[in-house]
Amino acid sequence: MPDDRQDLLQGTLELLVLKTLALEPMHGWGIAQRIEQMSKDTFAVTQGSLYPALQRMKRRGWIKSAWQITANNRRARYYELTAEGRKRLEVERTVWERASGAINWILDANRIPDVSGA
């Protein structure tokens, strides 16, 4: 089965991780799965980008981690949002919305009438 899912857009992974963890604490695998599900399998989250990102976010104090037992009785590292992380989510969301809005304007630009007169 060929995998035609896209890699994530640059810089969006952290936003998506924050959003995912805002719902409930989760382990790395779960985060990846959840993002893929929520994006209706549009995005693929590789472990190669996920775990360094988690480490970075932990260092910045946005998330914290603890070892817990999963439903299948296995040990896994669960991540959860800190208060700092919650604030960060809002910031990242605003930034994203502004950026994606701007990109849409650009993409729709040909519909704006030419007013320069040249």
Partner: protein, 907 residues
């Protein structure tokens, strides 16, 4: 805060590195397992699942690396690896590391020691509250290290009270004065006197400075209310530690000071040693207790007893200029209103009272030592440059020698950056060792320097390696490391490794310090620079040493080698008027009877005692002179004084015993006096007038004698018969011996005790010792400069030797070839020697003008040596050439011994 968690996370990553790694592995394994299960559930074939997990497995190690990077501790872990590697390299060549670390340690240690001393003497502020708001009223240098105000810059107690009560831009003003010698009994039933250093201070002393008590209390100002009503003392932390072993019960106990019971009320904090830099007080007594503790010298109600130093605290926002404008005229007015003869003198010479920044307190050592210390600082900085050049050279040679190792590393895939980092790590490790060794050396050298500088004189300076000094040292090591570390690192990494790896390549064409003898390479530039800097140091050292010799061997007009100086404290025992004259006569006769003593004469100021009087004279029948011209030094001397000090009488007669009782007032003047006031004609028989109207007749002229300074022009001086009208503090004897003056010291001591067992001997020293102490800063500079010069010479020669023998080794096959083609040994010798001498000559050509330019800075410190001194230049160049010749000769000889066969087979 996230910056905080950042640091915590990084530290945790470092400290729990092993656990972090295990957890990371487990986390990723969990991810893989889940992934595999997921795939199976999705119905992927077992084969495909395996393929994917293999692909993923390759990814695991990458992911781990990326996570490690994300921890932000990567560079630290790499550093640890590099340092471990560097330590292994250093262990492989311990001799090399030892030399490099040793040289750098000398440089860093010497610089730190000097800087510590400069910091303590010149830079540091008093450890008190807002020191920048303190002002000195008077001249901050006008205090000797025993804290006795000199000359006219200090104030009387009554004038202090006027100034204190004056409304102006000073919040408060404190006064502090010397106690002289204190006779203290500590503990019940004690009979043995102790003599701690004390200061009389105003009651607001501690509150003006903002020094809190460490134990008990400090003075609260009420001490100033009444004279003699506060028999209390505050002691310093040092004295508390030294004398009382920090016993807390000392606070509240009493000691006996000069026969008066005094209660210790408190201890000051450890950092506080008083306001006089260079003298540390053991105890402070209220100034109002002065007359009670020293009943023979009642100074509190005398306007002509000027003995207090004044320090004011400026109001916030006010400036020193405002203080000057307000206080200076006020003080001058107060002096004029209460004029005494001394006040007139004061006003004549000091129309303004100087008001200066007081944050560094009082000090005369600062004035004396600031210039010498900065001179030494320059010298020691030059030395450090030479050391860095030398170390750079060594590392350079080693980097070339390690070319193959570097090439191998490069060939095996190490990045150039990695290589530079490795070599830098080596330099860093060496630099760190050197910094530690240097600090230890500095700690030792600082004490040694201080001992040498003080030369038996009191010179209490707190030599604490403070944060500033530490930063300075670390900065130095970093600069040194960068200097010597980076150059070889870059160079080594640039080595064309294919060439280096090729075995059997003839070293003839590998460049470096090799075949083409006169090629300019970094090593040669460094040697040239070392020679140049060494020449500068040597010239400076030679000039300072010559100047010191001139000073030491100057004709002093005295029998300097046979004089023993004795100074007895007559004030404390209350010798005055008739009793004093009797004491002087008795002591003189007793001293003269000691075997080996040719004669003894007394005077008030003595020779090299640091004491001098001056007065204003007038010449009858002439116009009044300017204040400066009218000023002359004076002394009161006993009969036969000039004979007993070995001075030469030029005209007229000595002062005789009969002059002491005679009504006719007479004086002997020195040659400078005679020439200045009576340039033509007869001097003996002329008269002059001192402060009253009775003319004084000159009965004799004595050749100039140096009695205060070895290195300043002799002052005009008049000698009067010994008539004690002013109640001097000291009586001084010049004892002329037939042999070594130190030999009769014990008998002199016994003779004094026989006359009055309680008479205190303040000074008993051969004159040469006192003279030497008077030029201690000169000696310090000259000796250190010579030491640095010799060290520089040695280092430059060592460097030259290293470079030359390295060059010879690299040219072995070339030299062998030359020998095979018929070159004689002398030809080879000349070849190598010429190479070395070219370097030395180039260094000298740069060094001589540099030396000439820089030694003009020494001008103020030179005595009898011109700023351009051919003798010193010659000495420096000869020393440099001679040691360079030795350094070059050894490699040259070994080059000449090269056998063509051995040389050609060498590779």
């Amino acid at each position: 805060m996230s910056a905080f968690t950042d640091v915590i996370e990084r530290i945790r990553a470092l400290v729990f590195r092993r656990r972090e790694e295990a957890e990371l592995a487990e986390e990723l394994r969990f991810h893989l397992d889940m992934s595999a299960e997921h795939a199976e559930r999705a119905g992927v074939t077992a084969q495909e699942a395996k393929r994917r997990s293999v692909i993923a497995l390759g990814g695991v190690e990458r992911t781990k690396e990326d996570v490690r990077d994300a921890r932000g501790t990567r560079w630290l872990e790499d550093l640890a690896t590099d340092v471990a590697l560097a330590l292994r390299t250093i262990r492989r060549a311990p001799g090399f590391a030892f030399i490099v670390i040793g040289m750098l340690a000398i440089g860093i240690g010497a610089n730190t020691a000097i800087f510590t001393l400069i910091d303590a003497v010149v830079v540091r502020s008093l450890p008190v509250r807002d020191p920048e708001r303190l002002v000195v009223i008077g001249d901050p240098s006008m205090v000797t290290s025993t804290g006795r105000g000199v000359g006219t810059q200090s104030m009387s107690y009554l004038l202090y009270k006027d100034i204190r009560d004056h409304q102006g831009p000073l919040e408060s003003v404190l006064a502090s004065g010397p106690t002289g010698r204190l006779d203290v009994l500590v503990g019940e039933g004690a009979t043995e006197f102790e003599h701690p250093e004390g200061r009389f201070v105003s009651g607001n002393y501690f509150s003006v400075l903002g020094v809190p008590p460490f134990r008990g209390r400090v003075f609260d100002g009420s001490e100033d209310d009444a004279i003699g009503a506060s028999p209390i003392a505050t002691i310093s932390h040092r004295y508390w530690t030294r004398r009382f072993q920090q016993d807390p019960s000392v606070v509240g106990s009493t000691i006996v000071v000069n026969n008066t019971r005094v209660t210790i009320v408190g201890v000051t904090p450890e950092y506080f040693t008083g306001e006089v830099v260079g003298a540390s007080a053991d105890l402070w007594l209220p100034v109002t207790m002065h007359d009670a503790l020293k009943p023979n010298v009642r100074w509190l109600d005398k306007r002509n007893q000027i003995w207090l130093l004044l320090l004011g605290r400026i109001e916030p926002g006010a400036t020193i200029a405002q203080v000057q404008a307000d206080y200076s005229p006020f003080i001058v007015r107060m002096i004029a209103e209460n004029a005494t003869d001394r006040a007139d003198d004061f006003l004549a010479r000091n129309p303004d009272v100087p008001i200066a920044a007081g944050h560094r307190g009082f000090s005369d050592v600062r004035e004396t030592f600031a210039t010498p210390l900065f001179t030494i600082m320059i010298g020691v900085a030059l030395l450090l440059c030479i050391i860095c050049a030398n170390v750079g050279n060594l590392l350079l040679a080693r980097a070339i020698a390690r070319g193959k190792e570097m090439a191998l590393r490069l060939a095996l895939g190490a990045g150039r950056g990695r290589l530079i980092r490795l070599l830098l790590a080596e330099s860093l490790v060496i630099g760190a060792f050197a910094a530690v060794a240097g600090l230890l050396l500095a700690w030792w050298a600082g004490g040694a320097l201080l001992a040498f500088a003080s030369d038996g004189m009191p010179f209490a300076i707190d030599l604490v390696l403070n944060v500033r000094v530490l930063a300075f040292t670390i900065g130095l090591s970093v600069v040194a490391v960068a200097l010597f570390g980076l150059v070889p690192a870059v160079r080594a990494s640039r080595t064309p490794h294919a060439t280096m790896l090729r075995d059997g390549s003839r070293t003839i064409d590998t460049g470096g310090a090799g075949a083409r003898g006169r090629r300019i390479t970094p090593a040669r530039v460094l040697i040239g620079a070392q020679v140049a800097l060494s020449v500068v140091l040597l010239v400076g050292a030679a000039m300072l040493s010559r100047s010191l010799r001139n000073v030491q061997e100057a004709d002093v007009g005295l029998d300097r080698d046979h004089l023993l100086m004795l100074d007895v404290d007559i004030e404390t025992r209350g010798y005055q008027n008739e009793r004093l004259v009797t004491l002087a006569h008795t002591l003189r006769d007793d001293l003269a009877r000691i075997p080996g003593v040719r004669g003894a004469a007394y005077s008030e100021n003595g020779i090299f005692s640091g004491t001098e009087w001056s007065t204003t004279i007038a010449l009858p029948g002439r116009d009044p002179m300017s204040a400066e011209d009218a000023n002359t030094g004076t002394d009161n001397v006993g009969p036969g004084y000039f004979r007993d000090i070995g001075a030469r009488l030029i005209a007229g007669r000595e002062l005789e015993a009969s002059d002491e009782r005679s009504l006719a007032r007479v004086a002997v003047v020195n040659q400078s006096f005679a020439r200045f006031y009576f340039p033509n004609g007869e001097v003996v028989g002329q008269t002059f007038i001192v402060s009253d109207t009775v003319p004084i007749t000159i009965v004799g002229i004595v050749a100039d004698t140096r009695t205060r300074h070895l290195d300043a022009a002799v002052r005009r001086r008049a000698y009067f018969p010994f008539v004690p009208v002013t109640n001097p503090e000291d009586l001084r004897f010049a004892i002329r011996t037939s042999g070594e003056p130190g030999a009769v010291m014990e008998q002199v001591r016994k003779a004094v005790t026989a006359v009055d067992p309680l008479l205190v001997i303040r000074v008993l020293q051969p004159l040469p010792v006192l003279m030497r102490q008077s030029i201690r800063e000169r000696r310090l500079v000259a000796h250190l400069a010579s030491g640095f010069g010799i060290l520089a010479l040695f280092l430059a020669s060592f460097g030259l030797y290293g470079v030359m023998s390295f060059a010879v080794k690299r040219r072995t096959s070339e030299l062998g070839l030359r020998a095979a083609l018929g070159a004689q040994r002398t030809d080879v010798l000349r070849l190598v020697a010429r190479d070395a001498l070219t370097l030395v000559a180039a260094g000298a050509v740069i060094g001589v003008p540099l030396a000439l330019a820089s030694t003009t800075l020494l001008r103020a410190q030179l005595q009898g040596v011109e700023p351009i001194d051919p003798v010193s230049l010659f000495v420096a160049l000869v020393a440099m050439s001679a040691s360079a010749a030795v350094a070059a000769l050894l490699p040259a000889l070994s080059a000449a011994r090269v056998s063509p066969l051995v040389a050609l087979r060498a590779e």
